[in-house]
Structures are given as structure tokens and as C-alpha cells.
């Protein structure tokens, strides 16, 4: 199908965006990379009064290390994040996750901020941001406020972002030295929507894992930080016992919805499978090389 008629503004500065949002409220849609909004327009799932194109706003696509934090501008593309040496060095979890996002042509346009603001439960960046304890910067005519990623995602495609606000950047603390990561995702074909996935982080101390954080995608209406499961993975026991403990705890924290091809039970099973893969990867990484 073709997009319905709508008015369009190419914004040149953020205050102009704020003014439009203040005036149009819910009937305005922000167009960033457009890799989700454009399909929705083409299928007439959404019919905005005005579309505000922010792709040419200056200064919103940076990826920088400042005072121990990585600042990622909302307009940084998936491709830019995947190719960034700063990201590879300081947030390798994101570099690994980028490769799972759709396909090259889509990664060239789709943006970090757009993916977070859409809050698709099967998307990679929301789960990564929750795992990394990212802070999202929401800007409006009233100023800016910061919100932790785990508080930002409130439900299916529902976030704390209000209709007069723009997600302008994300601030991610660089994990402490010795932090290990794993990003595991299952999809039917390369680049398809995730069936289920996990972003995992842990610190390695004397060959043992601690401060484990497991954030799941495709396992509920929002990214899920599985704290009880992380606690249940206690390496005082053998790896197998700890893993079994973690896997059996997972059901109390994940509530995956069935999709066209997978029942909720299958998804939960697959979540356990990728949990094992992620933990094995973290433990192997934590072992000093022989």
C-alpha cells in the first residue's frame, strides 16, 4: 500500500521540533531512520497529522567517550554503532548485537534512538540498554530529563517518552575492567525478528563470575532484566548445578507471548537454551587461557 497523506516538516534544530510537538502533541510523529515508521505509514497502521523529519538535525549522531560514559546520539545508525571502534573497545556487547539487527540496507538507515523509542519487544537495543544500565536523555521545551533504561520501557511499544519529548541521546557507563559479555539471539533466518535473545554481562574475578546481568528480548512485553535468575546462577556449585538453578528460575521472570510460529512454552524453552549458551560463553571467557 501507499502512505496516507500527511504534512511534513524537515526540522533544522531541536527547539523547532519541541515547538511542533508542543503544538501537535499525539498527532505528530518523529521520523528518524524510518525503518519502522515507513512500513507503518505504507501499511496505514499510523496516520500522523504531521511527520517531523529529524534526520538532518546536527549533533545527534555522535558516538563519544566522555568521563567514563559512552554517549550515543539518537540518530547514530545501527551500521555506525556496529562499525565504531569506540563501541568495539568499550561496549562490545553493542557491537555484537548490531550484527543481529535486520540487514545491511536497513542498518544503514535505522537509528539507535528510533529503536529505543519504538520499544519493539523483540528489538536488540532495548535489552542491551537495560543490561548496560543505560540512561536515556529525553529533551523537550521544558529542558532535559534522564531516565534509566529499565524504567523507560513500560509495556508493549510503550515507553516513558511523553508526546512533547524527543529522545536525544543515550548515556552508557563503560563497564568495569574485567566485564565479560555475551549476546545470543535466535531467529528463523538471519536478520529476522528475534524469537528470543539475551544480552548478558558479568564481571570476572579470579576466574569466577559475579555481578551477572541477564536482559532478555522477545521474552515479554518489554526487555526483561532477570535478576532472580542471575542470583540463582551461583557458582559455589558446579557450573551444571548453577545453570540448572538459573534455568528453573527463568520461568518465574519471563512471560513470553506466543507468536505465529512458536508457543509460549517453546519460547521459554529456547530462553533456557540461550541462557546456557550465554553463561557458557561468559564462563569460558572468564577462565584464564591455558
Amino acid at each position: 500500500m501507499k502512505a496516507p497523506p500527511f504534512a511534513y516538516v524537515r526540522a533544522r534544530e531541536l527547539p523547532a521540533v519541541f515547538a511542533l510537538l508542543d503544538r501537535h502533541g499525539d498527532t505528530a510523529r518523529i521520523l528518524a531512520g524510518g525503518q519502522s515508521l515507513m512500513p507503518m505509514l505504507n501499511m496505514r497502521v499510523t496516520q500522523p497529522g504531521v511527520t517531523i523529519d529529524i534526520t538532518r538535525l546536527p549533533g545527534l549522531a555522535g558516538i563519544e567517550l566522555k568521563n567514563g560514559n559512552i554517549h550515543i546520539g539518537a540518530l547514530a545508525t545501527h551500521a555506525a554503532i556496529g562499525a565504531s571502534p569506540v563501541i568495539r573497545q568499550h561496549l562490545p556487547l553493542l557491537a555484537d548485537a548490531a550484527a543481529h539487527i535486520a540487514h545491511p540496507a536497513i542498518r544503514n538507515r535505522g537509528t539507535f534512538g528510533g529503536s529505543l523509542a519504538l520499544a519493539d519487544p523483540a528489538a536488540e537495543w532495548p535489552a542491551c540498554c537495560v543490561a548496560l544500565d543505560a540512561q536515556l536523555v529525553l529533551a523537550s521545551s521544558a529542558g532535559t530529563r534522564r531516565i534509566a533504561a529499565r524504567d523507560f520501557f513500560q509495556g508493549l511499544y510503550t515507553t516513558a517518552l511523553q508526546s512533547h519529548e524527543v529522545l536525544s541521546e543515550v548515556v552508557i557507563p563503560v563497564p568495569a575492567a574485567g566485564t565479560r559479555h555475551a549476546f545470543i539471539e535466535l531467529a528463523r533466518r538471519r536478520g529476522d525478528y528475534a524469537i528470543v535473545g539475551v544480552a548478558a554481562l558479568a564481571r570476572s574475578q579470579q576466574g569466577k563470575l559475579c555481578q551477572l546481568r541477564l536482559a532478555y528480548l522477545g521474552a515479554g512485553e518489554t526487555p526483561v532484566l532477570a535478576e532472580k535468575t542471575s542470583q540463582a546462577f551461583d557458582l559455589i556449585d558446579t557450573f551444571e548445578k548453577a545453570l540448572t538453578q538459573a534455568q528453573s528460575t527463568l520461568a518465574s521472570e519471563l512471560a513470553p507471548a506466543a507468536d505465529l510460529y512458536h508457543s509460549a512454552a517453546t519460547k521459554l524453552h529456547l530462553a533456557r537454551v540461550i541462557t546456557a549458551r550465554a553463561l557458557k560463553q561468559l564462563v569460558q571467557l572468564a577462565q584464564p587461557a591455558a
Binding site: K2, P39, T51, P104, A105, I106
Partner: protein, 164 residues
């Protein structure tokens, strides 16, 4: 706020200035306003890859971009890229290896393969598959396409070394 906009950009090296309805996506503009029908319209929601074009040298989905967003940019379609001879060897390989049947996916498949070959001249078979994963082909079963890309990469490789 506008429902039409005056924009100017280049298509295959030619500069054009037009008033375009803002709701028109780039691939519809190329096909319907410019008659460049080599870029195909498949799913119109970013799944099939048939509408692939290059903007400022990077491949994008032509159905997921408003035509007015091309303002000031450099757009290249299969017509430009094939007429310049840039992918003549790849086209030959597709022909020789039967890497197309109905041909619907082929223009986009060529542009996506060329993108990989420019970025990763040593791409493995697995990397070729991965890069082409967003382009659907319902005829070939992909094997012949991967073969064609792989053989073109191999043929380009020694030439690239001798030139440098």
C-alpha cells in the same frame, strides 16, 4: 508544514529539481516520475529488499525513504550502476551461473552484492550469505547467486592486487 516540497538531488549523476508529494517514497518516485523501473517494488515494508538503491554510496531500502528525504543527496539505481560498467563482471557471472530466473530480485541483488564486494573483498561464502540475507529470491534457491558473487570476488581479487 508541507504536503509537497521542492527538492533537488542527483539520480545516476544527473541533477534534477522537482516538486514532490511528501508521502511518495523514493522507489515510487524513481519508477513513476522518472521511468526508472529497474528498481522494483515488492513488499513495501522493508522485508524483501527488491527496492534497494544507493544513497551517497550506501545501500538503502527505496520503499523506506520518502523521496523528499533524498534532497541534496546522490541517488544511484541499477540503471546507473549497470550503464557505467561498474558491475559488468558481476552481471556476467549472474548470467553464466543462472543466478536468476524471473529476474525480479536481480537488480537489488546486484547492488547488495556489489556493496559487499566493495566493503569486504575477501568475503567468505558465509559472509556473502549474511550480506544478501535481506534480499529475497523465490526462484533460484540462492546457491547460484552465492556462486556468482563468490566467483566475481575471486576474479576481481588478483586484478585489484596488480593495480595497487
Amino acid at each position: 508544514m508541507d504536503t509537497e516540497l521542492d527538492v533537488s538531488f542527483t539520480v545516476n549523476g544527473e541533477t534534477l529539481t522537482r516538486r514532490i508529494a511528501v508521502r511518495q517514497n523514493l522507489v515510487d518516485f524513481l519508477r513513476e516520475e522518472l521511468g526508472l523501473t529497474g528498481t522494483h517494488v515488492g513488499c513495501e515494508h522493508g522485508a524483501c529488499g527488491a527496492c534497494t538503491v544507493r544513497i551517497d554510496g550506501e545501500i538503502v531500502r527505496g520503499c523506506l525513504l520518502l523521496a523528499v528525504q533524498a534532497d541534496g543527496r546522490r541517488v544511484e539505481t541499477i540503471e546507473g550502476v549497470s550503464q557505467s560498467g561498474e558491475i559488468a563482471d558481476l552481471q556476467d557471472a549472474f548470467h553464466k551461473r543462472n543466478a536468476l530466473q524471473c529476474g525480479f530480485c536481480t537488480p537489488a541483488m546486484l547492488l547488495t552484492a556489489q556493496d559487499l564486494m566493495q566493503k569486504n573483498p575477501n568475503a567468505s561464502r558465509e559472509e556473502i550469505r549474511e550480506h544478501l540475507s535481506g534480499n529475497y529470491c523465490r526462484c533460484t534457491g540462492y546457491q547460484a547467486i552465492i556462486d556468482a558473487v563468490q566467483s566475481t570476488l575471486a576474479a576481481r581479487s588478483p586484478r585489484g592486487v596488480s593495480q595497487s
